[in-house]
Structure formats: structure tokens, C-alpha cells
């Protein structure tokens, strides 16, 4: 971790990475959860495809090459529903 990253609070570091994922045109991602713990960044939450999960990984590693990335993002289910809800 370089000196400026070391001096940045984990919350601020996570906020910077969140903005990177939102503003990079390859990801445009506002919905994943990002947590920074020491030299590791954890990603969690739902995405629309496996390739998008891979893009998140790629963009994050470019933005924070010194960090370990744990990508726990999951691809949203796309099955038919089992039943509906009756509203009264």
C-alpha cells in the first residue's frame, strides 16, 4: 500500500473505489457493496452477468493494484417465479 493509501481511512478508501466502479464506463456499477479491511477489498452484492462480475474485478485491480480483491458478487437468478401473490 502506498503512503497516501496508508494514510486514508478505510471508509474513505472504500468510498473512492465505490466512485471508481460507478464512474468507470466499463462497470457503471452503483449497487455492489465495497468493504476495505487493511490491504484487502471485498465486493459483495448482485449483478446481471458473470462477465460483469469479471469487469468489476478488472477495474478494481487497476484502481487499487496494491490490494487483494475478494470478489463475492453473485449473478442474479433469472428463473420463472413459482407462484404469485394475491393482493386483497
Amino acid at each position: 500500500m502506498n503512503e497516501s493509501e496508508q494514510s486514508r481511512a478505510p471508509g474513505h478508501h472504500a468510498a473512492r473505489l465505490r466512485r471508481v466502479l460507478a464512474e468507470d464506463s466499463r462497470t457503471a456499477e452503483l449497487g455492489v457493496q465495497i468493504t476495505v479491511e487493511g490491504a484487502a477489498v471485498h465486493l459483495a452484492g448482485p449483478v446481471a452477468s458473470g462477465r460483469h462480475k469479471d469487469e468489476l474485478d478488472r477495474v478494481l485491480r487497476e484502481a487499487a493494484p496494491e490490494m487483494r480483491v475478494y470478489n463475492d458478487v453473485w449473478v442474479v437468478e433469472a428463473d420463472e417465479p413459482g407462484s404469485g401473490e394475491e393482493l386483497r
Binding site: S25, A28, L30, G31, G45, P46, V47, A48, S49, G50, R51, H52, V76, E77, A78, D79, E80, P81, S83, G84, E85, E86, L87, R88
Partner: protein, 236 residues
Amino acid sequence: MRIAAVGDVHLDENARGRLRPALERVGRHADVLLLSGDLTRHGTVGEMRVVAEEFSGLPVPVVAVLGNHDHHSDAVPEVTDVLHDHDIEVLEGDSVVLPIGPHRLGIAGVKGFGGGFAGKCASAFGEPEIKAFVRHTVDVADRLRKALDALDADARVALMHYAPIPETLQGEPPEIYPFLGSYLLSEAIDATDVDLAVHGHAHYGAEQGMTPAGVPVRNVAQPVIRTAFAVYSIEP
């Protein structure tokens, strides 16, 4: 009347075809399919073509509102035209009435906007940017109210991207609730006789809630419902 609904599908070329197998069977479950916005990732014409092809040619009518992602490339007229070219209705302060058997289902839709909820919302005071923000959310809610009011139908549905109540946001950090919806949308819903309100936008929210007047509200963001679409039955 059986209403299928989903939002926040965020389709791009990478996700083409994922929903199609389930969508082709939507006629077994529902009479109409509502899309509550954030259909694309960046709001480009190319991505909206993927959306249009995914949701066209289905056995039921498809009615949509756009979401904030669909506005990201400043190409709203162009992406709207793509959906229209594929017979997908797009609502923004207007409505459509669909015949379902002997009955008429009215759907009024807006994207909506933020602003926050009762007691914790923005006011039209201070800098021009804040006043513009609040003025926009007031105007949007007013357009929804007028569109609902004008509906001549046996049952009415309000379709939005942003949330009208905080209950369907539970799971999201409370600090961002003002960016996720506005209580003015629930005021618009409660000012008319609405049977169901549907929205998206909050991927970590809860599916079920209710307006102060008792109108069922459902968050149909795909990460919330975890299926290709949810189905709700209402009595006309």
C-alpha cells in the same frame, strides 16, 4: 388481473438472453408485464436494443418506465424510440389502459426522483441546485398524480423506478434514502384510488410495503425478487 413486474435488469450485451427463457413463459403467469426502470447499464441505444429484443414478442403487453441508469447517456428520446419500435410502451407522466378480459387495467408511470421521506426530506430552500432538485421531485410526483387521476379503468397501477415509501428500502443504508425515493410519490398514489404501486431502484431493499393509505407497494428490483419477474393478482 395478474400483473408481472421486474426492474433493475441492467442489461447489456453480456446479459443478452439470460431472461428470455422465463419471459417466453410469462403468459402462463400474467396478463401484463411491467418494467420498473434501470433496464440498461449506461442508457445507450445499443444496450436498449438488447433490452428491446429481450422483452419483445412476448405473449402479454409490456409497459415500462425508465430509471436513472437509462438516463445516463442523455439519450432518453433515442432509447425510448427503441422500445417503442419493439411495441414496448414507455410512460413518463402518462398512462395506458389495457383490456384484460371484460375489465380495464390502467397503468400510470413516472421514473420518479429522490428527495427523501416524511420528516427527513429536502426542501426548496438555499442554493439553486437544491431548489432545482426539489422542484424536479415535486413536478414528477404531480405528473404521476395527474396521470393516475385521469385513468378511467377498473383497476389502477402506479409504476415508478424510485420508491414512494421507505419500508421497501429496508436493507439499504438509511443515509442514502433521499437518493432512493420521495414521499411525494406516495402522496400522489394516495390521492387517487390505486390498487398496486410497483417500483425498483433499491437493490438491497425489501419487497413488500404499504403507503399510509394502505396501497400495497412492491419493490420488484431483480436483486430483491430473485426471479425473472414477480407476479401480483388484483381484483378489479
